[in-house]
């Protein structure tokens, strides 16, 4: 049984899927609910936009110093720094196959689990990650956010029964997670060369180091002996499947031969935009215009 499963997986990864038809039973679509959610979300986004506009107007009225706005000439070059491209392309292709044969079927199966149960799992992992978030906000010198994250952790671990329920968000104690990659960026490190990590996907050298740091932190803190105890082997796969089932990306659904380039471009631009936000107080360094983005 185990050998057969392994053989199938290996066949899939090597690209020799059986002839004929492959059928994936997808999770059912729920257009009525999606549409209702879209109406609601549109309203809340519109409200958020208005609030943001008011906030900016307030800042301007108080005459607070704000850095000069970016001009189009400040945009990083469209080319991305990718010295390890052949290796990255190999990993990208491996990831596409792994996703198609193993990861996606698993996560599609997982999506059939009743949704309260799934959100429990999701909240549980998010709560575990909160520890790392607290530490990294502190390292970044963003103490307010660090305290909020700590508050979330305390509320969710107690009232939320070990993190299964996200009560903090219900109490409007919202705070996005952060990690060591962002801390490194705050400390002034550039994204570095583009890197496609097997199974995990697009990253850069800095973000990869960040991931190792995050893992090290979780391992070091070893909350409730989860990371070094008897169940640690089950933790990562479950976490991975939970994360995958919340991402709607599908490898090569664009059918485009340029997908590698497109994803690389988008991913690194996202990082660079986030860096602009992190360093908004400090003066912008002029870059040599011919350096590819990310270096």
């Amino acid at each position: 049984m185990r050998i057969a499963a392994l053989a199938l997986a290996a066949m899939g990864l090597c690209g020799c899927a059986p002839e004929g038809m492959i059928i994936h039973r997808m999770p059912a679509e729920t257009p009525a609910a999606d549409n209702a959610a879209a109406i609601q979300r549109a309203a809340s986004l519109a409200a958020a936009t208005e609030a943001a506009a008011k906030a900016t107007a307030g800042v301007e009225a108080r005459g607070e110093a704000s850095p000069p706005p970016l001009t189009p000439a400040d945009a990083p070059p469209p080319r991305t720094y990718d010295p390890w491209e052949p290796l990255n392309r190999f990993s990208y292709r491996f990831n596409a196959r792994f996703d198609e044969t193993i990861f996606l079927p698993l996560s599609n199966g997982y999506r059939r689990v009743p949704s309260p149960l799934r959100s429990g799992v999701h909240n549980f992992f998010a709560n575990l990650a909160e520890v790392d978030t607290v530490i990294n906000y502190t390292l970044q010198g963003r103490l307010g956010r660090g305290v909020r994250a700590l508050g979330r952790f305390v509320v969710n671990s107690t009232v939320g029964i070990g993190g299964l329920f996200d009560f903090a968000t219900k109490l409007r104690l919202e705070n996005p997670p952060t990690g060591f990659g962002t801390t490194l960026s705050k400390w002034g490190m550039h994204p570095g060369p583009y890197l496609v990590i097997p199974i995990l996907g697009p990253s850069t050298l800095r973000e990869a180091v960040g991931l190792l740091g995050d893992y090290g932190t979780s391992y070091g803190v070893n909350l409730a002996n989860l990371y070094r105890g008897d169940v640690s082997w089950a933790l990562w796969p479950l976490n991975a499947v939970d994360q995958r089932s919340n991402i709607s990306f599908r490898y090569y659904s664009t059918g485009s031969p340029f997908e590698y380039e497109t994803i690389r471009f988008l991913y690194v631009r996202k990082l660079l935009l986030e860096d602009e936000g992190l360093h908004k107080k400090s003066a912008r360094k002029r870059r040599a215009p011919d350096l590819p983005a990310g270096e």
């Binding site: 002839e19 038809m21 257009p31 549109a42 936009t49 970016l70 340029f258």
Partner: protein, 475 residues
Amino acid sequence: MRERRKYRPRFHAIRYKGRVRLIACFIAAAGLAVMAPAAFADDAVFADDAADQLIASSGTPEPATGLADSAALRATVYGTPPQDIAPMPAKVPLVEINMHMPWARPVPDVFWFGRDLRVWFSSQDKPAPLAIVISGTGGDGNTTVLSTLRGALYGAGYHVLTMPSPTFPGFIVSASTTGVAGDLVQDGHDLYSAMQRVVAHLPGKVRITDIDILGYSLGGANAGVVKSIDASEHKLNIHRAVMIEPPVSLFASVERLDRLFAISIGSGDAGVERLYQKIYAQLANLYRASDRVHVDENFLLTAAAEVLNSDAEFSAAIALTFRIDLMNMFFAGDLYAGTGVVVDPGAPPKVGDSLERTQQILRGKPFSEYFTKVFAPYYLKRRPYSTPESLIAENRLDIIADALRNDPDYYVQTNSDDLILDKAELAWLKNTLGQKIAVYDHGGHLGNIGDRRQVADMLDMLAGRWRGAASGIAP
């Protein structure tokens, strides 16, 4: 005079996953790695100003860029507002079918992922008619628009099979007999063969009582042609066809989109780089001003309302989306036909090769170049008595004009402000189809798919209940 709708930024963009794609594509593709030398300094025309001037000079009710008015551009980008969407079923089961087509050509290295044709199927658990829906230009079989139509059709009791466009690279690789997409008749035959194979192998116990065909945009034209092929071959016995917002002349429509690109972005690659820089700076400033920690979907959707304001910006979004689809089709066509525009026929790219440079070159190429350098040479060689002019003429709906006029089972839905049609083409559609066409006042291109009126009319047409626009009851 037609009333022009006043638009303020709205967020109906968020409906399903896919509408985000357009905006993401816009932001994304805007910068897709252009490494043009700093030559664009002497590229004097600033795209925005040019388009704004055109818009300003053109007077109110007439189409703004010579193509469409403001409301039409906005509707095209944002799609149907979720509050206008017709009632949808709570649950639609969905199966993805990946199928090998025996006639497929050898899969080129760079398309290693596209061996099988991928279609999506939703089946009723009782005997029911089957609705086959074809995607628009460059679209796969599961676009946002298809998902909306699937919901409406499934809710009305149809089995629903959604197919990619024959211009989608996945279709070109897995099911095209030529590899050179864009010919109505050839694509029609390829689609028809693929449909037969898929319908014959639908999984589970599917009891089909009747088959109807639909399609939107280019898929609308494809649907009409497939029905007319079936009328002589009788392999599927397709009953009714509903063509949703089809082009009349394929090449005239795409040329309009190319012109939109030239006006709003500028010709060639420099315009794309300029657009990328502008959008990057805008996003960075918005992000700095916000209190966010991540560049996520919510941020991008909020930002889109700031980034997309003028007619020129909406035009750019539309033109760029089309160009991205064209790039894939151009690349595939050039590769299969061996025409050597961007792919060296002697040494086609291998799996690990970088395609950055190719992508950059293709970004600056309009459809007219695909036609003159890939499409026409390929088909002229295979159709001895044809000329470039005859190829263009064969890609008009005129080729099925008799059927459109005389067969009661062809229907068309379109908008009077659809930017892929001009007035003469709209008039042609009205004349040819007579009572079998519904023309809505507003919606641009695909900006009203799924709304109550469009869905109600579409279902009436499919059921043979449609009695002409006069009897259509406005909600």
